[in-house]
């Protein structure tokens, strides 16, 4: 296992490309000489002594918490993030190597509250094996799903029929930066307690610096949202993650069925009724939805339902390298804030 990790990190794979370049340009003897040197290096890298390679001290499940944890830990320890950018926190799965990394970690940081279904088993196995774990969501006073607010996160669900979720905690706490600031402290304290060899003062200083950044984000969001008239603070959406943001900044989440691509090919009034009713009742000029054809949706709403509405997409559950604007947690929150203000604000 140790050898394997070292190999992947860099021994032979790096050697292959180096060798190919060299071989083309040099004589046989020279090549062999160079190869022997490289081989020596690769053997050393491969850790044939049996224990080579730094163990990943902190393993984080989601990429949002990964960004936060990296800021807290800084250079004090290795941080491995399991969920790749643009993946889905509910269902991403991990490789055998990563499962092994979890079991050798000093600390596993995860969202919890039922979010990471794909790796929960691995996290629990590690916990049973004595690895320290931190379910961040459990420590930030989670809110619970309700059924009685006019089709909130539940009603908005395209695939759900309702209601086994009522009363269960909502795992998407990161849409509230105030809670994320608390998460920073929770992570810092556990890192100090569980990860050998870290400089506690340095970790706490990192955390304080980053918490200040998040508090500034919170204040900035509050100021930006003030540009939206209170009567328009309605998020008509098919997303299920904005319950926390809504609670923090005084928005109402209005669930709606967003007509699908097949429906939009040849829509009728009944296809658009749920959304048109929601938009009219909410009195908003924009909706926040993922749609495969946002422009077509807007056209159809105007033509068939007489509702002029912009269709705006938001970042929800994952940092992104595929789309710009969400390479870090703070950047993602800023992008969403500007998108909401742009959609709902005046002028």
């Amino acid at each position: 296992m140790t050898a394997m990790t070292a190999r992947l990190r860099g021994g032979p794979r790096r050697t292959v490309s180096a060798a190919r370049t060299l071989v083309r340009a040099t004589a046989l003897r020279l090549a062999v000489l160079v190869m022997a040197t490289v081989l020596g290096a690769s053997v050393a890298l491969a850790g044939c002594a049996g224990t080579g390679g730094r163990r990943p001290a902190v393993v984080v499940t989601t990429n949002i918490l990964g960004d936060v944890t990296r800021r807290v830990v800084g250079d004090e320890a290795d941080v491995t993030v399991l969920m790749k950018p643009d993946a889905d926190p509910h269902s991403f799965a991990i490789s055998a190597q990563e499962a092994a990394a979890i079991e050798r970690a000093a600390l596993v940081v995860y969202n919890g509250l039922g979010l990471e279904e794909g790796v929960l088993r691995n996290v629990e196995a590690a916990k049973d094996a004595g690895v320290a774990t931190l379910a961040v969501g459990e420590g930030v006073d989670p809110i619970r799903y309700t059924t009685d607010h006019g089709g909130g996160p539940d009603g908005a669900a395209p695939g759900g029929t309702g209601n086994d979720l009522a009363g269960r905690p909502d795992p998407h706490f990161w849409t509230d930066p105030h809670r994320m600031a608390r998460a920073v402290d929770l992570i810092a304290e556990r890192v100090v307690d569980e990860v050998d060899g870290v400089d506690a003062a340095a970790v706490r200083a990192n955390a304080a610096r980053y918490r200040a950044e998040i508090e500034a984000l919170d204040a900035w969001m509050e100021t930006r949202f003030a540009a939206i008239p209170p009567a328009r603070r309605n998020l008509v959406t098919n997303h299920h993650v904005f319950g926390y943001l809504a609670q923090r900044y005084g928005f109402t989440v209005v669930g709606a069925v967003i007509p699908s691509g097949t429906t939009l090919a040849s829509p009728s009034a009944s296809d658009l009724k749920s959304l048109a009713d929601a938009v009219r009742a909410a009195g908003v000029p924009a909706i926040f939805a993922d749609s495969s054809q946002p422009d077509r949706l807007a056209q159809v709403m105007a033509a068939e339902a007489g509702v002029e509405v912009r269709v705006v997409s938001l970042f929800t559950e994952s940092l992104s390298t595929a789309r710009t604007g969400a390479s870090t947690y703070v950047e993602m929150m800023r992008s969403n804030t500007e998108a909401m203000v742009g959609g709902l604000g005046e002028g």
Binding site: L39, C48, A157, H240, T262
Partner: protein
Amino acid sequence: MTRNPAARAALAVLSAATLLAGCARTGTDETGHEVAARKPAALPHGYVEGAEELAEPHPRLVIADGGTGTAHLLDLVSGDLTAVGAAGGGGVIGGVGGDGRFAYLSTRNGTATRVIDGGTWTVDHGDHSHSYRGEARDVGALTGADPQRVLGDVGVTVVSFSDGTAKVLDRAALEKGDLVETALIDTGGHGTVVPYGEHLLVAGDGPAGKDTGGVDVRTRDGRPADRIGTPCPEPHGAALTRRGAVIGCADGALLVTVKGGEFTGEKIRYPGKPPKGDRALEFHHRPGSTTLAARAGDAGIWVLDVAARKWRLLKTGPAVAVTATGDDAPVLSLTADGVLHAYDTASGDETATTELLAAPLPRSGAAPVPAIQADRSRAYVSDPAGKAVHEIDYNDDLRRARTFELGFPPAAMVETGR
């Protein structure tokens, strides 16, 4: 590159280096091999490698060409039609069913089931769902004569055959493109096997022809785990709903639910005593709907409201194909005259009709039979004589939203990705 002797020598040295790098293997051989076979760890490996997450479900129809036996994929968003899979004797002719992502079609020679990956699928997370797109492909053929029914959950898909056997396929392997049979179940006759609650429900005569009273609960690899005592005489047909698994029995439907690992059976008896020929044999519904529809012999349509534990017989006369579209949505029925009908499930009233098919169905049994499939907003009806598929807005008086001209008679049609 390898024509260069220096390169050859260097590569030889490299192989040695690779071998040496494994010298301190503290893990197992198994892990070592896995690493060798994998792509580098730096590549993203989300839920399924190479899959792209979509903003919404992306439904497709897998359709068999009744002439050539070629399977086609009709993309319901773009309208594109593409061929996928083999033609000829190994080609496809009949529809068996689907498990959300894969369509199962019986082959023309009747000895196998061809499995087509529709390439789009939706994962339900209760409060929301995620949809993906990968590559559509012909996964291969599963041997076994006369396939009857397909039912799948997240772990396995079960294909049942007319001789009472059922093959259990590993879903994770299917997603990688491999047909891996994890169990072969013999119900001893006209039995029914249903994947449910991370187990298999096996209703039938049993391998020894005894103990016909209840339903066996087995592990996914076929080992006995539990038993449900409620009898289900002459089991035939089954469906999976959010409120439990439903198995058709001579005297009604057996609803099986699981709570905390405990399986419970509850009989929903037919009202009165319907003649034997009128019992429900196969259930049809939009996936997720807890209202089911079944043909009731020549009498009409059975509607089973699973939530209310109640049957209703719609005395419509014989139907060619039926399906339920949802809990507060109509039951659809196609009659031999080519007319599609909508019925209100609460009152039993006919609410709309539309003349749909190009021609009435021929009386001889050789011609392909039309199929109905439904998703959350539309239903699709295949029209062999018209060489087309009709898209129906069932919430708008059976309005014909689109008609897809295929250029061949559709012999089978299974919706995936919904």
